[in-house]
Chain length 264, copies 2
């Protein structure tokens, strides 16, 4: 199909430019995974392992499209994926540059459990409460349910490397009460919710701080009073309905939130 193109690709710009060796292309056109995402993953890996030199520039989009055997819009979409994550920087009239440093982290609905696990910190949970109760008016208001409709209330003590790290209070509407029947001592609540068919879509988090109560300090093995990081979160599913209301308390001495923002 496009084998003649390869010949023109040598653009001897004489040494001054760093030559980026792109990995062999292994696109699977039958796969469920979109081409642009396969491409983005290839490039991400190439950056990670250094085949694409940090600080250098990519070849131009049309060349890349030819090299990968896809159209320019598809190539652009792959590049955009990495730009959105802060791995690449595009400048009109100049080119696309690979960022210098590991400054980018994907933004995601933070699952504390997964974060700890990927940091090798041996997360586990002690389930302190798992019951269906009538909600406090404030909780009912957040979940947009009437106060006479029960909700699932979970309270877990999150441990990392055997040390207590956080107290996690979560409230789920009655239609999701079955989530309480799963084993929550291992794995994240989000996994359990996804397994129950919930498709989380958008979440609003508020992160603050306050003095821990005597009970909280005691549970978390801190002197009293100690400062705590607090997180409140309202998660909506893909129909726009509230799926979860969370009130979390973290030991300030052991935890902080990390967020990467990309200016659009």
């Amino acid at each position: 199909m496009a084998s003649d193109d390869e010949r023109h690709r040598r653009q001897s710009t004489a040494g001054r430019r760093i030559r980026n060796n792109h990995p062999p292309i292994t696109l699977d056109r039958v796969s469920e995974v979109p081409l642009y995402h396969q491409l983005a993953e290839h490039m991400r890996m190439a950056i990670k392992r250094g085949s694409l030199v940090r600080g250098s520039r990519l070849r131009n989009e049309i060349d890349l499209a030819k090299a990968f055997g896809v159209s320019r819009p598809t190539t652009r979409r792959a590049i955009q994926e990495l730009v959105d994550q802060g791995l690449l920087i595009r400048k009109r009239g100049v080119g696309t540059q690979i960022v210098n440093d590991e400054i980018a982290r994907p933004i995601h609905l933070s699952s504390l459990y997964d974060d700890l696990k990927s940091d090798q910190r041996n997360p586990e949970s002690k389930v302190l409460l798992n019951q269906v109760v009538l909600p406090h008016p404030a909780v009912a208001a957040k979940l947009l349910v009437p106060t006479h409709e029960p909700v699932l209330h979970l309270r877990r003590l999150r441990m990392a490397d055997g040390e207590p790290l956080a107290i996690l209070d979560n409230f789920l509407p009655y239609r999701l009460r079955d989530v309480g029947n799963t084993d929550l001592s291992v794995g994240s609540l989000y996994h359990a919710m996804r397994a129950a068919g919930v498709r989380m879509k958008v979440a609003n988090q508020r992160i603050g701080a306050r003095q821990g109560t005597t009970k909280e300090c005691s549970l978390l093995n801190e002197p009293s009073p100690s400062p705590m990081v607090t997180m409140e979160r309202l998660t909506h599913d893909d129909s726009g309905k509230p799926a979860e209301w969370a009130q979390h308390v973290y030991r300030a001495s052991k935890y902080e939130f990390s967020i990467t923002l990309v200016v659009k």
Copy 2:
């Protein structure tokens, strides 16, 4: 606190279709502003003022494209902009739905000043320090400059409605020292940096908490000890070089961070 008026609103989407009256099209094809963005703004406004009914569905993309007189890809790109902000939800085989509630806020590099201003809280700053000094090794390491190269150190006391709210320490590399010559008592540091030609691109924030020091509590008009929200931030410009290192301390009783996340 949002009102609970809509709590008992029924979904009942099956079969029934709300007819959304789209506003008259006023696209400017000569403008610098891309068509897809003009379109997105139109739709955002229509949602905001209620011409597009919350919870209802948009017409399909091809119809919309015809109605707006643009191609389908352009229409899709406009829709995607709003999906990314959590205003719309797309489902294959179903359609595009307008979210039920005001759950979406754009994610942005948080400028405390702008946030306070848009909340009508009369922000102002008292500049406590504005000097070029040799950096602490930790600061030099963050900014990737040698310890013998001076940096600009700013310390401001941020006030809101006449009350102290936060102590803002910012460090800028020497090449941006001119930012210190602008009036920083009004407006945000980010504005001043942008005015100086800095194009901020990606920032990494860490949000945590700790007990405030005696001096901090005194400056912030809090009893000692009081819990503080802390924020550290490293901002990079579009060449990937560090442009700013920030260490901020907020009164936990007066401030929290609000973040909206969209699952992709």
